[in-house]
Subunit: 373 residues, 4 copies
Amino acid sequence: MKNTFGTVLTVTIFGESHGGGVGAVIDGLTPGIKVDEALIRHQLSLRRPAGATATARREQDAFVIQSGVFEGKATGTPLCLFISNEDTRSRDYTPAVARPGHADYTAQCKYHGYQDYRGGGHFSGRLTAALVAVGAVLIGALREKGIVIGSHLQRCAGISDAPLDEAAYNDCTVLREQLCALNEKSFPVLDEEAGARMMDAIAVAKGEGDSVGGVIECAVVGLPAGLGEPWFDSLESRLAHILFSVPAVKGVEFGDGFAMGELRGSQANDAFRMRQGEIVTATNHNGGINGGISNGMPLRFRCALKPTPSIAKEQQTVDFINQQEQDFVVHGRHDPCVAHRARVVIDSVCAIALADALLERYGTDALAADGQK
Amino acid sequence: MKNTFGTVLTVTIFGESHGGGVGAVIDGLTPGIKVDEALIRHQLSLRRPAGATATARREQDAFVIQSGVFEGKATGTPLCLFISNEDTRSRDYTPAVARPGHADYTAQCKYHGYQDYRGGGHFSGRLTAALVAVGAVLIGALREKGIVIGSHLQRCAGISDAPLDEAAYNDCTVLREQLCALNEKSFPVLDEEAGARMMDAIAVAKGEGDSVGGVIECAVVGLPAGLGEPWFDSLESRLAHILFSVPAVKGVEFGDGFAMGELRGSQANDAFRMRQGEIVTATNHNGGINGGISNGMPLRFRCALKPTPSIAKEQQTVDFINQQEQDFVVHGRHDPCVAHRARVVIDSVCAIALADALLERYGTDALAADGQK
Amino acid sequence: MKNTFGTVLTVTIFGESHGGGVGAVIDGLTPGIKVDEALIRHQLSLRRPAGATATARREQDAFVIQSGVFEGKATGTPLCLFISNEDTRSRDYTPAVARPGHADYTAQCKYHGYQDYRGGGHFSGRLTAALVAVGAVLIGALREKGIVIGSHLQRCAGISDAPLDEAAYNDCTVLREQLCALNEKSFPVLDEEAGARMMDAIAVAKGEGDSVGGVIECAVVGLPAGLGEPWFDSLESRLAHILFSVPAVKGVEFGDGFAMGELRGSQANDAFRMRQGEIVTATNHNGGINGGISNGMPLRFRCALKPTPSIAKEQQTVDFINQQEQDFVVHGRHDPCVAHRARVVIDSVCAIALADALLERYGTDALAADGQK
Amino acid sequence: MKNTFGTVLTVTIFGESHGGGVGAVIDGLTPGIKVDEALIRHQLSLRRPAGATATARREQDAFVIQSGVFEGKATGTPLCLFISNEDTRSRDYTPAVARPGHADYTAQCKYHGYQDYRGGGHFSGRLTAALVAVGAVLIGALREKGIVIGSHLQRCAGISDAPLDEAAYNDCTVLREQLCALNEKSFPVLDEEAGARMMDAIAVAKGEGDSVGGVIECAVVGLPAGLGEPWFDSLESRLAHILFSVPAVKGVEFGDGFAMGELRGSQANDAFRMRQGEIVTATNHNGGINGGISNGMPLRFRCALKPTPSIAKEQQTVDFINQQEQDFVVHGRHDPCVAHRARVVIDSVCAIALADALLERYGTDALAADGQK
């Protein structure tokens, strides 16, 4: 449903880039979940532009919880978060020019000119701040259940990060540590040297008035087997649904994904084995999912992010009101790369989809921490 | 919702591989749409295993329309299709062995042993016959509106097909012809010579008791600009949702997808231009979608299909009832490659998602052909 | 969604009065639920016209389970039921005449003449056979959990049945016995003498070429407290939603309903009391629901059913194709009263709504009987 | 879905009685709809307690539009409204006492003590302010399309108002005038003398520390024929769903409703006739709906509202934390009657359900005023 996602846990987002702010309503939370404002702030800080290469737009992302929290805990009724916009410079935008790679023209086709065109309006990446705040609540709750989500910038500007641990036979010790470490990093790579080269390449692109894309790889440990539904509500379907809602994501693959198209069946199948009385797989080409349902191995998927469409170079475009071609330079303040900042958005929407699936499977109280009523 | 997809046009599927049959209910059809049984048969024939390399299971896929059609046209009330199973050999299956790469073990985790385990039961690719029959009704209706969907086997066993026409500046003449031609082919390639080599490679894999995967590329011409919703109901989200419901699909990308992660913004952006009074783009790296909404250019996406998990080679697995490891050879009759057969399934689910989006955008009568009441 | 009801347990119905048959798909069942075909037959027999006053259309309602049951138990994947039509006499219907009180004209407005007009087509009460078959599966499962649903014909043709036991302080012994007894009766009254007078009155109406309406009162014992959601998914909202889907239902009230509009607050409030360590209410004016959520007392609601619109008397109507007035006598075979037959439909849709709420609250396995895996 | 209603137009509500405030998100609005803040204020004023008999809690209901409006018009993306709480006196509430007739105890059962118990928290009638604000946007848009909604307090404290005009043969001139006049009145009756007696009776009840209930009758003129869906999304189902979400509503009936249960078919059927080239009915016992679909006659329904459960008299209840009985007097500030204030809530939720049905039937732009892009 347009701006609402989920079956039993639902998230509704609203807001615009240059309006009053952005926000979200989460409904269906297990009552009693701790709402950790420090964690929300931490997650928002990971999304926030920072460093030499980033956009000059800086906001503190101060959020207000408008409902649904009482004495520091989720009541179970709708939690509304609102994040005011602060540092907006709307004069940078004109209503009629279709910025290439952006939604300006398609918004015009859909909304007939009534859309708030400033800074992409409702289509702006600014709304991901609301998703990150929502995600922080769920990421915190999932951790209490032993479910840890984390991502790294697997590839950026042609440079690859070191791989995540394979967690073969479901030995997740190393992978879990990697994910926890990544969750603390503002530039999420395992190999700091590779990260430094990525940052250099981003700076080069910026210097040339250009931008770069990348690939985020996400993993989840601690998920129970048997989660997901057949066919249309497969874990892959639900996750891909919300992942493709994230701006700039143009590809999603689970396990070995597109590389599986090149394999033989004997290479792609994950052999089932017994380890310490548990059924596990020896490899994890399928990314922890068989037939759309979790098999207890780490969930693993990758998202391709296109390069930021806002670049300083002159581009060809049209004025869609006057229906004429024009040359054009994007003004406004933009990032030469959003892939590393998108990491926390990917983690957040992953948390939303998984929390929804868990609540549908195990009922309203599924996210209750041990000892919670 | 589990086995139901869609917002205003909904499709519900049911059935098992070795039960009475498989079927689907389509609700929300524009009344008066022609239900062309010949087209349904044609589409089902494209899905059916055929040729030397295919599974020995052969069924005529005779379907019965149980409701929703009156005097050859859709009434607008639910249309239920049922396809009986005929050629089932259930003795090939045992309840306790987790075939690697299949849903046997995850179904056990979810359904506690009550699932129909024979031939994958409800998780079987057999259910895609129902999706194809549903898709045929919608593909026919969309064609009447000038919207043509088609796919080719872009890559299989390491061999690439010729590319689809780029339809730059939205000149779709050649692309439309390619799609129409592909819709008639049982092995859907543009380059017959490449296709012959793919078939040889499939036969080699079969001879070695193995299987291969592939990549299906799909394109759609004739879609209006402005279709899709922001955020969670972006065209990409809806399409990916249903595409990942198709068995064996492990990756989905729109436009240049993962390759965009390697590009600069100046390379990935599609310049807007005027052509014959229409706003078009000079290139189509974004696959016809900006901000989740169609821009009037051809829709273009690719799906990675893993190799058929059922292979004749001995594999390692477990007996999940007795919780012990065992070596195992898949019996039953299986295809060494399903990618080419999956093509018509991809087209069908694409038609479902697009028809739903069109009906939500333009109302109940959006699929009425010219001259229809 | 049109012909699909439910959030996590969904029911989709299809079919027409004079087409191949009617059916339903239930999705989201707890795996392992017993599917008791004898109970389905029993429930269908309660819906079937019988006795001197009933319509002459007689069908055995033989049903086929097309999917979702394996070895006598629900698999948890979609269960499709199909009931063939047998005794159809389509010559009794013409496409253009709007039978007063029926959906012929509104169907024409909505479906532009493509609807199957024979016998009301998809709008026919015939589809309630599918709802009853679905309901039987759920009623059986709920009974295993101690939840008993039952109804009586509280009022018919101006005659009242004896009241259901009040179950004050939640002592449900007598009420439970009443409900169980009613579930065995084809004419569901507590007071057989009142029932005899109702039947006489129905026969009189029939003799005069007319029909009568009535009121069904339904009660449910054994429901846990805390079921339902705030606001839009209140128990009352969900139940009313599906109750108003039943043909002929024109009013629904919970607890004392409209009579509460006449009371003072001091009369309408139900005092909370302790009984054997349980919180109960001394009275049950609110019908077991406060703020949309069950309070552990018996659920109680009433449905008004209008008199059968098909009567033998001459009526004034229009031919909506030729747009002219005409006098008209309904042919076809019809009941002078459907209220007593509607009883089992009311129970069935109540079971659907409650099962959905229970599964959303307690998770997928909420309907598992004791000892079930 | 819990706190979200609708299929293509969705409304999500949030907030608590004594928290920061209450609000709502509307998604799916036709872009370009005028958002008339004066109309929102007017509608909120009709809901606000006023006069000698009303609760002493007085708030200005100042609202902020947090998103979705640009230059005075709906953008078509989510519109979030927020209304701050001002005049809260939380000391009046204790966490453990179940006020009879309220949701305190059921909230405890559902939320395990984490609910915001102050003033009913999320279950408070305070949230209807958000519904009224949402409704005002839609009521304004519907008026532009010639669709007028209005209600009167048909019965209160045993006193009846004069009847609405019957609009027989769909002559709505008088009825439309009545509805428009009612929309301006703070105590919505047609017969001012009856209204004065109702107000006296309310004052008497208040003087006795008690409260009264009532019946709201709502009518809608200008609705097209053919609106609604068969079975589960019948107009009656959708309307009843949202009407039963309104606190205190315990009964809903369409047309003659429960009175139809007492009629013969020959009395209850509405004869179809031709008038000025239009198909109409001579009477409107069915309330403008046949088979769940509008027939072009005025929509007509009634809602029973129970007396305000908060009364000054001593009542028996329990302390649900200490599990013991106690006598109890409600503190806080409350209305001796909410039925007249509920009128604008009924109109508002009616507008939500109808707007959703219109948008599903006619597409995204269905609410565009004449001349709007």
